[in-house]
Amino acid sequence: MQEPDLSIEISSLKMESPLMLASGILGTSIDLLRRVFEAGAGAVVTKSVGYEQRTGYNNPTIVEVYGGYLNAIGLSNPGIKEFHKELSRSKIDDLPLVVSLFGADPLEFREMISLLDELEVKAYELNISCPHVKGFGAEVCQDSKLVGEIIEAVKTETQKPVFVKLSPNVTDIVHTAKLAEDTGADALTVANTFRAMAIDIETGRPILANKIGGLSGPAIKPIAVRCVYEIYQNVDIPIIGCGGVVDWEDAIEFFLAGATAIQIGTGIAYEGLSVFEKIKQGVKDYLIVKGKRSVREIVGLAHGFR
């Protein structure tokens, strides 16, 4: 039997493999992003960049909990101008590079994109869903009007694919998903982390300096899969599943739920960078056993059972 085809397309972004690096994991430098690409990622997403430079929160910014990790990095980033410089001096034309952006309003997003758009950036991911930074992120995602305005603004500024990363910290994620689709999103990344915390019982202190952070990892997988499943029934644009993928079975579950691609973040903490090759192999073997020629054939197969 022929090797199954793992390639996918999301809007104009062609990927050799449906496994992407999630934003904020190792996405601090082009060199690291390239390494992850070479380790088997079909596309790599940068750490979220904002208009102004931000130092982020003090450490501890990351803590492991049972079933996952909490992080409250605080959107640390060098600022869009510095980031532009860094991209400009790097060779990125052969890199399936997705730039993740956060911002407070449509104007910030437009300005950032107008700066970057001349570069060989392949797509943008709008992070309107970071759960632990006031004024950006989840608060944006919870404001429907703002979400629509941001997406529309971005779409007028660029021809490149625009992915919108949704917050699961909302009452009705399907609502936001539909809104994003209606206002022009080319794909949805589902989903970001869950607001959560850990307290050190010896000292009584919240462990993260910011006290509250975002929960990622296997713990959130069943919720993320549900989000993908529900959104798939209500929107037509591709979904990029994200949340707790550690092994190939996890990846398959997301594909069946309706994800065209998946992102891996915390999985790297458990499996190292080989997580991409391991999952790729597992997915291939699965496709062979199931007699499928392409990963595209299994997307959404969990739907339609009575």
Binding site: D31, N58, T61, E64, N77, P78, T203
Partner: protein, 270 residues
């Protein structure tokens, strides 16, 4: 349920190493089993969490690190008293390897922290060590007595250099390398300290075709290889390092001693 959260430990002993450097000793089983070169993320409650090389391990579950007062976090550590609480997670990272043969160690300041447990294992393995300890001036030296005691166990030598000549030979630590390398067959050079020094050590090592292992520093947040804040070239100091060998150091030579990133990820000259 089990997870790799900070473990709260009590400071059992505080050792004054110099006016600005102190070692803190605590009891923690995983840390006491750290290999030379590994580090620990130290949570200074309410202040910060910073990486510290493990400078001491004991079989009875004790471990220690050695901190130089620099900014807020290190000053808070420096000010800790016996009985103070802190959190530790780790040990993390790649350790020194191939700990045997005739070796050279080049260190300066708290860069000696990971080199001390290394030299202890080396002398256990009967290695001959040329240890070059550099500094600007006499006040800055730490661990010299401990190094002498350790190195006395094998046919080893300590060379002290100061830039102002106030202690040992006048000059840079790296100046002391060439005479030795010209005369002796050295199997490995280990180094830790200011990055410009490390870079110079690397260059000299390349000249003499001696392999080297260097322990590097970058901003760390997660300590476990996911956040990317400690990147240098295509590597993560926390996971691919902090100890790097010659091939890797050569790969990152453009960044080494030239620039690093701050907490925002912005590139800054060193």
């Amino acid at each position: 349920m089990v997870s790799d959260k900070p473990r709260i430990v009590k400071v059992l002993d505080v050792r004054e190493e110099s006016q600005t450097v102190r070692s803190l000793i605590f009891e923690d089983d995983p840390c006491s089993k750290a290999k030379p070169g590994q580090f620990v993320m130290v949570w200074i409650l309410g202040v910060d969490e910073i990486p510290m090389s493990i400078s001491m391990t004991k079989a009875d579950g004790l471990a220690g690190f050695t901190v130089r007062k620099v900014g807020e976090a290190s000053a808070a550590l420096f000010d800790m008293k016996v009985g103070s609480l802190l959190g530790v997670r780790g040990p993390y990272g790649k350790h020194f390897t191939n700990i045997i043969g005739d070796v050279m160690i080049v260190g300066a300041g708290t860069g000696l922290a990971p080199l001390m447990p290394l030299s202890e294992v080396l002398t256990q393995n009967l290695s001959s060590i040329y240890m070059i300890i550099g500094g600007k001036t006499i006040d800055e030296f730490v661990f010299v007595d401990r190094a002498r005691a350790t190195l006395s166990k094998t046919k080893s030598e300590i060379i002290i250099t100061t830039e102002d000549g106030s202690y040992g030979t006048k000059g840079l630590a790296t100046d002391a390398m060439e005479p030795i390398l010209k005369e002796r067959q050295i199997d490995m050079i280990y180094t830790c300290g200011p990055e410009l020094m490390i870079k110079k050590v690397l260059e000299i090592a390349q000249e003499f075709s001696v392999p080297i292992q260097a322990s590097l520093e970058r901003i760390m947040k997660c300590g476990i290889g996911i956040c990317g804040s400690c990147c240098i070239g295509r590597y993560r100091v926390c996971k691919d390092g902090p100890v790097f060998d010659s091939p890797k150091l050569e790969e990152i030579i453009d960044e080494l001693g030239s620039f690093k990133r701050d907490h925002s990820g912005r590139v800054a000259m060193i």
